[in-house]
Amino acid sequence: MKARIGQKTNWPVVILLILGLSTIIFPLYMAIVIAFKQPSEMTNSISGILSLPSSWSLSNFAEAMEVTDFWHSLGNSIMITVVTVVLSILIHSLMGYAIGRNRAHSKFYKFVYLFIVSGMFVPFAILMMPLAKQTAELGLANWAGVIILYVVFYMPMNVLLYSGYLVNIPIALEEAAEVDGATTWGTYWKIIFPIMKPMHATVAIITALAVWNDVMTPLIIMAGTGQNTLPLAQLNFQTQFGTNYNLAFASYLLALIPILIFYVICQKQILNGVVNGAVK
């Protein structure tokens, strides 16, 4: 019985899945062919838009890089994402640890836990106007402010994940280390922090994806500093040069390439991380 279920490939489903993939591939295909074409090659018929370009010239990409200050925006995006992820892993895991180890017997920590986790329900819409004012007042209307805000925004989710994960780590490990004379602080970094590695991966992936693609926070905090993240550069590009579609699509593709490379390399970890984060 089991053998029967295990062996046969369900070909109709495979064919349907291949057909379904076209809905994902088609928009991307369209973006690629348009990005390689010259405006003169674009006719109004579908075949004119969707046919392959007459030559695979990279000139649109070179121009788009210049117009959107690509390398600069890419650098900003990478820096903001990396620093946010590192800080999130360090700060959120510590907070998760303090809460996870004390929540059961301390009213104070139980309150702190609920207080922070309920931050998940605060929509960005209500925070954005006061935050724009507040970061300006504090001199944080720049990338540093954006990073601080990300660390705060993703704290509810990540603290929930870390403190949940900690339940599975036996407290006896720490007690044994403390009998040997280690401090709580030392025990944490030597024993608990390394054990939480699977959770660090999950937190890193979901935080990185969210930060990398976020438009709103940099839009509100960094607008007017002359600095761009990749998505913000697309937004500014659109308002300035929106009519040259070939250039625009080259620029869109440039913005998508880094995350695509990251996805191809780490797809397994990304899928696992995203599922872990959502299901926990």
Binding site: K2, I5, G6, K8, V13, L16, L17, G20, L21, I24, P27, M30, N44, S45, I46, I49, L94, M95, Y97, A98, N102, V112, F115, I116, G119, F121, V122, P123, F124, A125, I126, L127, M128, M129, P130, K133, Q134, I148, L149, V151, V152, M155, T184, N213, V215, M216, I220, L230, P231, Q234, L235, Y252, A255, L256, I259, I270, L271, V274, V275, V279
Partner: protein, 288 residues
Amino acid sequence: MKSNKKRTYLLITIPILALFVCFNTIPLIRGIVYSFTNFKGFGTYDWVGFRNYMDLFTDSRIGGSYLFTFKLAIVATILTNVISLILALGLNSKIRAKSFFRAAYFLPNVLGALVVGYIFQYLFTYILPALGEMVGSPTLSQSLLSNENLAWFAIVIVCCWQNIAMNTIIYISGLQTVPEDVYEAGDLDGATGWKRFRHLTFPLIIPFFTINMVLCVKNFLMVFDQIMAMTQGGPAQSTESISFLIYNNGMKGGAFGYQSANAVIFFIVIVAISAAQMSISSRKEEQL
């Protein structure tokens, strides 16, 4: 020893909590305070009591944005969940190149919503009308995005395109928790096809259904990037989501105090919906 330990925990907690209060709680309180003023975002302001809130309820633009946002959230949540459940069943069946298909179908989720919005904007403005002309449909031969009655559905399509990826992966991990012998027992009782799904599979993956509902509703109610990329709220304000309206009028349009009141109402709505969803789903899970 023991007090030492307590001190370490407190030394960890207090600074982090302070950071959280500074950039989450205080702005929230300031937002609520501004909602009782006629603040423009700069200069001086006066207290206006509840006037902003009174005005909100008679403002048809605000009403329109709530109507659009909820219409989008409901339709997109249903479509996303139906399609991703079917897709997950397909991806979880006996097929070749399983991991390739899974990775490919997840792709839309890692792409930035803004850029995806731009790509679809082009698709709806140029490709779809050309197709519409070929099949001779007058409705389709003009851009969906310039049609006051249909632009919202274009936004639904883009939202679904991205969120189906996420929901499918979650449903797949749900389907993997269903043990094979449940199906074998079902086979013996003659449960196949739809019957098997309805009475065996679905009840077992209800927790994953709940996660997806919560994720979807929350994402769709806060929709912003897609609107920014595709319609900027148009045509005729027919696709103005709540977040977009707050940003556009509050940040750029000078109605800081008034839109703060809108944001407070939006906050209350989100909390109420989340609380309702959680109590319903916890009751459902208990029944099992």
